[in-house]
Symmetry: C2
Subunit: 245 residues, 2 copies
């Protein structure tokens, strides 16, 4: 069961600061952010709970304080197609504004999460009054287009082991030779995010380990050389390593 709380007075400044530094509210007047917050709630969700379903009436959009959220659609055959795995500081659900206020996908909690739930009606009203807010939203939409185009490209040009390697490279926080990192969520979810069946993912991971010397123990990944990993993954892509996408 989720735990919903209005933003209380002691926490107000804290969350205001977080929102103010987000892509949506950057350089937006404090009173506008406060107006949003006065109608918002902080919600703690346990893993696997549902936030909303596709075609549900959209009263809210969401900002992720911590945890991971999976957005997805289901095929006619009942398979799940993951659209995104979203983490800290990411926003979702806002594009229902352009879909007759119906969510264009479903959203579940992938790892225990805390979200700010904001009123979408206020967003729709405010972007008509404040161009700087719609420009921020445009910046956000444009970033999503770039990510989606890049994912599309990866489906075309990379094989399955390269796609996993690329996902790992993007988790590396520096480009030093050796890296040790923890997977942010479990392998089943990584497979879904990369659009692979679990058995394809297993075979591809085995191949990637053989080719690049990486070692995977549960969620811990040891990368002996990011250069070798990049050499294996990046030649087929249109971005140059280290990439900013």
């Amino acid at each position: 069961m989720n735990n919903t709380q209005r933003i209380s007075a002691p926490d107000f400044a804290h969350y205001e600061e977080i929102l103010q530094s987000s892509i949506l509210f950057r350089d937006i007047k404090t009173e506008i952010v406060s107006e949003f917050m006065s109608m918002s709630s902080i919600i703690s969700y346990p893993k696997n709970s549902n936030i909303f379903n596709i075609d549900d009436k959209a009263d809210w959009f969401y900002f992720i304080i911590e945890g991971w959220v999976k957005t997805y659609r289901e095929t006619m055959d009942g398979d799940e197609v993951v659209i995104g795995i979203l983490g800290k500081n990411e926003i979702f659900g806002e594009n229902a504004i352009f879909e007759n206020f119906l969510y264009p996908f479903s959203a579940d909690i992938a790892e225990n999460a805390v979200l700010i739930r904001l009123p979408i009606g206020i967003l729709a009203k405010k972007i008509e009054q404040h161009p700087e807010l719609s420009i921020n939203l445009l910046r956000h939409a444009n970033a999503k287009i770039s990510i989606s185009h890049k994912e599309n490209e990866h489906h075309i040009v990379q094989n399955a082991p390269q796609r996993i390697g690329c996902f790992l490279l993007n988790l590396c926080d520096s480009h030093t030779k050796k890296q040790s990192l923890n997977l942010p969520f479990d392998k089943t979810l990584i497979a879904l995010k990369l659009g692979m069946k679990p058995e394809t993912f297993s075979r591809a991971l085995t191949k990637l380990k053989e080719e690049t010397g990486i070692i995977v123990n549960s969620r811990n990944v040891e990368i002996p050389s990011t250069q070798i990993l990049a050499k294996f993954c990046c030649g087929t892509c249109s971005s140059q390593y280290p990439c900013s996408d």
Copy 2:
């Protein structure tokens, strides 16, 4: 060689009407559209000519009056990855506003085309002054996100023959049983758009013909039953046939 002409007085009303009905300028005051047009040109391009390259400085964005435009990036290995094949009434290049005024992809003419070339600096200025313009641009960005997500999904859930069948179904202008249609551009370009190597495309087309009874003669395609074609293609997808995507 392309043929560039300022919009002349006799054509002004004609192009103003076309722009005014586009996704970007819908419900925008005529004087704003006229201001754009006073600094715009009509350009006729022959097939295969280049419009701009990735990372070129972006002074313009484009509206397609007729013909087809290919947007693409190149991989480190020199392969072309097609982002979109755009046709009549579509806009491109405008998102350079959010990429430091550098084009984030290259654009070539896929089939002889006539474009309106509009000043991007004016767009950047006007969206700050007129929220209705940035909301139209947001609507446009959101449509592009939906298309890109759907293409991504197709790479995950559909095999190559199904992807070709889906492309053909989207060209059908009605859902009567039998259809006869002309491909809008050549098969090499369709293969690129669908992210397939030419040999994969050929094999997949052969399989599609066997499974659904379609007949392809050069650019002419006879579809004996859209229902059979839909049955073959659509089960694995999250949209229901006939789909609006």
